[in-house]
């Protein structure tokens, strides 16, 4: 029973973070749209992921698509790499770290 309760808490916190990120991301897109032209340097970045289930990868890809400056492009067949398109990529390591910390860790907890 407590297992179900803690899982529910984890799912709720993921949903809350997701909604917050959606708003932040829309504001970021608005800023980059209305800002100076040519300031964005887009890129395709490979993000290594360690999720076991297809549902987990789907959730991660959906979350990534609705968060600041990133859209998922492709998942490798063995579900080990997620390719994302980044609107403004000064540092790829930073982006990979933020995805891992914000979403992947939480999805892993829910999967377990």
């Amino acid at each position: 029973m407590t297992a179900i309760a803690s899982k529910a808490v984890q799912v709720t916190s993921l949903a809350a973070i997701f909604l917050k990120e959606l708003v932040v991301s829309s504001v970021a897109v608005a800023r980059s749209v209305l800002g100076a032209k040519g300031s964005s340097s887009s890129a395709i970045v490979a993000v290594p992921i360690g999720l076991r289930t297809a549902a987990g990868v789907t959730t991660l890809a959906n979350c990534v698509s609705l968060t600041p400056g990133t859209t998922s492009l492709h998942v490798s067949e063995d579900m080990s790499t997620l390719y994302i398109h980044v609107l403004d990529a000064p540092s790829t390591d930073e982006i990979i770290a933020s995805i891992k910390e914000k979403f992947e860790a939480r999805i892993k907890e829910i999967e377990a």
């Binding site: 829309s26 897109v29 608005a30 964005s40 698509s65 067949e77």
Partner: protein, 116 residues
């Protein structure tokens, strides 16, 4: 009293949603190529439509209508990234190039990544 709060909240949400829709369409106009335009449409556009549906949910007195509006919001939030992903993947597989401002492309060349 509740009516007054509802009216103000609905009005504010409507204007915010419409502003996000406008930002998304300006993004479609100004951003340099397809992949970056997709960012604007799939984030700001989705949020704009969702906020306006939430405004309907706030405005109505009928629980059935409010729950249907919120169901619409959830549905839209779930499908928007999927359609963006499919479209981007199809465009990439068909060989539409990234613009010259792109700094790098870590995705394996077209054709090889499908058979890993």
């Amino acid at each position: 009293m509740t009516d007054i709060i509802t009216n103000y909240l609905t009005g504010i949400l409507l204007v915010i949603g419409a502003a996000f829709a406008l930002v998304a369409s300006v993004g479609l106009l100004r951003l340099p190529e397809f992949y970056t335009r997709m960012h604007a449409a799939s984030k700001a556009g989705t949020l704009g439509a969702c906020v306006m549906l939430i405004a309907v949910a706030v405005y109505t007195d009928d629980t059935a209508v409010a729950s249907r509006a919120l169901a619409g919001v959830v549905f839209f939030l779930m499908t928007a990234p999927i359609s963006a992903h499919l479209l981007a993947k199809a465009a990439y597989a068909a060989g539409y190039p990234l613009w010259e401002g792109s700094v790098h492309d870590e995705m394996p060349p077209r054709g090889s990544h499908q058979k890993e």
